[in-house]
């Protein structure tokens, strides 16, 4: 693997609760907009909670070219495809030149996939029996379908991988995509994550009693759980030379990532936080950076009672005294926890923070948990000239991924 090649991000696209596109998302992050509200995607009356970070007013036909049929696409497919179109347009790569298709690939962190549509199928199956259920609804049930639709519609001939490590999948997809370029499997990668809201996921988190019935309050004394969200986030990755050759606008650089496992419990983090500590250390090592270099930490910060103290402890273990002078924020307080998409969505947050020179806030954290004693940027967004940003994503199964992004300075640098 050629370690001296630099991989940069030249396109961004997203649909999430506070941003119908990247420009709107950047503005909302700066203003501290809350996207957590009553869901209208399905009836929540039978659930304990009713709120979430839903992508409202999503009209797929408006963002997906007419030549592509929406009929066999799930909500997840449509959300990710819409983000892909925005990212490619942002990278000035749409329509994609023929010459680059052979070496263009897709790496997506998945979550519920087509479960939203499959629910209707399951309901049919239960009420009408096997012979009468409509199987066409199932064609997009699995998460790999989103990458398939993107690659097939755009005529891509490169690698195609779907990561399924729950809440760290989107982050791992970014790291893997970088490696696929570094080891010659691809020259351009569309990488990111997608998570649709659906009743099955909503019911699962309700059953685990890990959802706050109001809005999530990361690092706050009265935090009671997470807020579920949905999103798609797609990034265009390419080597620095090719970005410069074609005069592309550069949002920032993917410097390194680390993946570890708690080997402790399926749904609770190891309280010693060893897995999280090792993930951050592995990412620093991969990036060739020291603890002094990190200017901002985009926390996993789900607002569950256990995550926020554990993550705080982990940050202190990795950064020592310096932990107290690094701003840490959880943007999940605004866009909610978007599970499989979150690592990629927060990758976009990190790159926007670097390019636009600000630290997005942690909202809803009014009274801080005494055990959470770092600088959580609770008073609103803060202007800051950032060089290196570290983003954490921890998941069920004990999967931890940390990605580090760098500001790109030089010809082609994007500015806010």
């Amino acid at each position: 693997m050629s370690k001296n090649k630099r991989i940069v991000v030249t396109g961004l696209g997203t649909k999430n609760a506070i941003g119908g596109d990247v420009a709107q998302f950047a503005a909302a992050l700066r203003q501290g907009v809350c996207g957590i509200s009553e869901l209208d995607l399905f009836d929540t009356s039978e659930f304990l909670t009713h709120k979430g970070g839903q992508v409202k007013n999503f009209n797929p036909r408006r963002c997906i070219p007419k030549e592509f049929s929406l009929k066999r696409m799930s909500r997840a497919d449509q959300l990710s495809y819409a983000a892909t179109m925005e990212a490619l347009t942002d990278a000035e790569l749409y329509p994609l030149p023929e010459s680059i298709k052979e070496y263009t690939g897709v790496a997506i962190g998945g979550g519920a996939g087509g479960l939203f549509e499959a629910e209707n199928f399951y309901a049919d199956l239960l009420s009408k029996g096997f012979g009468r259920s409509r199987f066409s609804r199932l064609s997009a049930i699995y998460c790999a379908s989103s990458a398939d639709r993107i690659a097939s519609n755009l005529g891509l001939l490169g690698p195609k991988i779907t990561l399924m490590t729950a809440c760290s999948a989107g982050a791992t997809a970014l790291g893997l995509a970088r490696d696929l370029i570094l080891n010659g499997q691809a020259r351009l990668m569309l990488a990111g994550g997608v998570e649709p809201m659906c009743r099955i996921t909503y019911a699962a988190f309700n059953a685990l009693k890990s959802v706050d019935e109001d809005v999530c309050r990361p690092f706050a004394r009265n935090r009671a759980g997470l807020s579920l969200g949905e999103a798609s986030a797609i990034l265009v990755l390419e080597p620095l030379e090719s970005a410069l050759d074609r005069g592309a606008k550069i949002h920032g650089e993917i410097l390194g990532y680390g993946v570890t496992c708690d080997s402790f419990h399926m749904t609770s983090p190891d309280e010693k936080a060893s897995g999280a500590v090792r993930a951050m250390q592995a990412a620093l090592k991969d990036s060739g950076l020291a603890v002094e270099d990190i200017d901002y930490i985009n926390a996993h910060g789900t607002a569950t009672p256990v995550n926020d103290v554990t993550e705080t402890r982990a940050i202190k273990e990795v950064f020592g005294k310096r932990a107290y002078s690094i701003p840490v924020s959880s943007t999940k307080s605004m866009h909610a926890h978007t599970l499989g998409a979150s690592g990629a969505l927060e990758g976009i947050v990190s790159l926007l923070a670097l390019a636009h020179g600000f630290i997005p806030p942690t909202i809803h954290c009014v009274e801080r948990d005494p055990e959470c004693d770092l600088d959580y940027v609770t008073e609103g967004a803060r202007p800051a000239d950032l060089r290196f940003v570290l983003s954490n994503s921890f998941a069920f199964g004990g999967n931890n991924t940390t990605v580090i992004f760098g500001k790109y300075e030089g010809r082609g640098a994007a500015h806010g």
Binding site: M1, S2, A151, S152, M164, A166, A203, V259
Partner: protein
């Protein structure tokens, strides 16, 4: 990066252990004996009722006692995919002679592929939710509905804490996971990576496959698996798990490990295709195999055997045959071709088991027969009837999926 002549032992990846739970037996010895004897594991499905559909055959895992491999405490929390993956991972580590200790556990990891995950658990969860309401769902089921559950459970039971990732891409899930593992080892982020795939037969999955016109006897005739045969009429569904223990040659040498073979490279690629459809075009296969060979520094003329993806499906087998015909057209000595899916069925992430079969083949210098093949579509050097000696050192594992995704791996014999 295409391989050049000078490559250090830290970048050479070898297979040092094999673990599997398959329809042809549990563990390397029984699997190997039955595979090379030409045994067939296809039989009438016993674990669920198939009367609602037109297919009745399957390749089921029988005689697997999870208790022999997994502690009672952890087993209670596991679903079937998790117990198969955990047992296989243990068998692979044991075969490699590796004990997980506090000193090495952070450098041992697992990269697992699964096409569908725990379909039995997901359906049970969705069924309760939709028929009895959200207050009746069982929170115990939740952790096992995520696709990374098997890798998470395996890490908890076996204690390794390094890189842990689950990937999915339908029928190339396992091959993709192995390619990723090779890349991670070369990157130096782990000393030992377990890698392969797991999928199970569930009633739900089986019934869906009949609806997608995959299973034999899809177009009439007698039910059975006949890869590459003129009378093939669909595949027979299978299940199981196969896991390789991979490490760098440097590490394997250091501890004096036995070596099955070397994985010299991989190629990943795509072709545009409709949802759930098998691509009709041979270019995707040819392009990806060439990519894998280039990545491996192996010449097409040196390929002595192909562990094919053919499963008895009408389109897949035809396209794969044509691709190899075109690819090897100019060669005087054609490579041997075999597919073991006539013996173990199609389990989608069966690439893990097939990788184990290829590693054994390379070590033994002979290939197992294609069970169910008597009259080939076209005359090629298929392994028919009984095992066949192969000449040469370079072999290829083919991964082809519906949806137009390809993952090829190159396995070479290892000479000390």
């Amino acid at each position: 990066m295409d391989k050049n002549c000078e490559i250090s032992d830290h970048e050479r990846i070898v297979v040092t252990g094999l673990g599997m739970v398959t329809p042809l037996g549990v563990g390397k010895d029984e699997f190997s004996r039955r595979l090379f004897e030409g045994d067939c594991a296809i039989d009438t499905v016993q674990t669920f009722d198939t009367r609602a559909v037109t297919s009745h055959l399957g390749a089921e895992v029988r005689d697997f006692t999870p208790r022999d491999f997994i502690s009672v405490k952890n087993l209670r929390r596991m679903d079937k995919t998790s117990s198969m993956a955990t047992a296989s991972a243990r068998l692979a580590l044991d075969d490699a002679g590796i004990a997980v200790t506090p000193e090495n556990r952070d450098r041992i990891g697992l990269l697992l592929g699964t096409a569908f995950g725990a379909t039995d658990v997901t359906v049970q969860f969705a069924g309760t939710l939709l028929s009895e309401g959200s207050s009746s769902v069982n929170p115990i089921l939740v952790p096992n509905t995520v696709m990374n559950a098997p890798a998470g459970h395996a890490s908890i039971e076996l204690g390794f804490r390094g890189v842990n990732t689950t990937v999915t891409h339908f029928a190339v899930s396992a091959e993709t996971a192995i390619a990723y593992a090779v890349s991670e080892l070369r990157r130096g982020v782990a000393d030992v990576l377990l890698s392969g795939g797991v999928d199970i037969l569930s009633k739900f999955c089986y019934e869906c496959l009949t609806k997608f016109h995959g299973l034999s006897p899809d177009n009439g005739g007698q039910e059975g698996a006949h890869p590459f045969d003129v009378e093939r009429n669909g595949y027979v569904a299978g299940e199981g798990c196969g896991i390789l223990c991979l490490e760098t040659l440097a590490k394997a040498r250091e501890r004096g490990a036995k070596i099955y073979c070397e994985i010299v490279g991989a190629g990943l690629g795509s072709s545009p295709s409709g949802p759930t459809a098998w691509s009709q075009d041979t270019e995707g296969i040819k392009r990806t195999i060439q990519r894998a060979l280039r990545n491996s520094g192996v010449k097409l003329k040196d390929v002595s055997a192909v562990m094919a993806a053919a499963n008895g499906g009408r389109v897949l087998d035809q396209v794969e045959t044509r691709a190899y015909q075109e690819l090897f057209a100019s060669r005087e000595h054609k490579p041997l071709i075999t597919s073991i899916k006539g013996a173990i069925g199609e389990s989608f992430s069966g690439g893990g088991i097939r990788a184990c079969a290829l590693a054994l083949s390379v070590k033994k210098g002979c290939l197992p027969p294609t069970i169910g093949l008597s009259r080939p579509i076209v005359p090629m050097d298929f392994v028919i009837g009984k095992k066949k000696i192969m000449n040469g050192n370079q072999t290829v594992l083919a991964g082809i999926s519906f949806g137009g995704t390809y993952a090829y791996l190159v396995f070479s014999s290892f000479n000390h």
